[in-house]
Symmetry: C2
Amino acid sequence: MDGTDDKDVRLRESAEKLALTLSQSGMQKTTARVMTALLFSQQETMTAGDLCEVLKISSGAVSGAVNQLIPTGMIERVPAPGSRRDHYRFREHAWATLMGNQNTLLAGMWDAAAEGIKVAGKESVAGRRLDEMQDFYGFMQREMAALIDKWREQYDSDRG
Amino acid sequence: MDGTDDKDVRLRESAEKLALTLSQSGMQKTTARVMTALLFSQQETMTAGDLCEVLKISSGAVSGAVNQLIPTGMIERVPAPGSRRDHYRFREHAWATLMGNQNTLLAGMWDAAAEGIKVAGKESVAGRRLDEMQDFYGFMQREMAALIDKWREQYDSDRG
DNA sequence: CGGAGTGTTTATAGATCTCTGAAAGTAAGC
DNA sequence: GCTTACTTTCAGAGATCTATAAACACTCCG
């Protein structure tokens, strides 16, 4: 059965496709490629060397990408007894974490609006626009946090 | 009262600050600057010429940015009787529109997961990761749409 | 019609960002 | 404690993106 090789190739293609999408939405290209490589991998973990080989990039690039991904909570370094190499793995619930990080952005938007209102006042041309903006981002911040909690609960109760 | 000039300067600073944040989250720098200039402006609308002057950029750059912003629904071209120039304005409810556009991205994520599962099957190392991903983005897509509707209703009923 | 005032397009220049390759740093095992 | 295996850092090369400026196109008005 050579279906295995074929599957791996197709998984890699899917991974690259998603990486492209992500890089178009602001994520760095190599960072996105590393992330999707781990996501679509049939291995539980991958070493830096694996990533170099699969993605055809230098160890320096892998190091940079990994150190960008870890603080976001998307991947984690996993201890590998008996190996001197670092192993990396896509984190469970990473998506919820990622979405949760967006709250920082939402808060930033709220702050920006607040700052503008402080200068212009609510009863001005800019003030009215900023007031709607502040209202929206306040709302979103609250509701998004609730939404993520809801999913976590739901997912945990469905599958343990 | 020279407070007016001072306020304008401070509003411009806030605008630039937000533009920087947005450009760090993937938006093109000039596009972001044009958007925030319109958002923080004390004028109801601005012409391309106004934007050139305020942002110190060429008319070509303004043209490009504007044509990137309009399809997203963040700004609109507004007819200006008695003037040959195009006037632009930040759109009402633009934020909700922007957030709504994110649904395309969410759908793309769901699709990517589905594609991977089709290749790998759910009962595989990659499949289990992708299954959680699919679940998450399916959930988010549904709930986000509902959330935006909820805000629209709430905002409209509060202020007409 | 024709011209003036604007908006758009495009080739080029310039800036920015990111990868690479190599040297330096770190830690495990003998 | 030294050697070896690996990772990180960093200067420089290369690629990518983006703004500019000038040519072109459109539109309104006389």
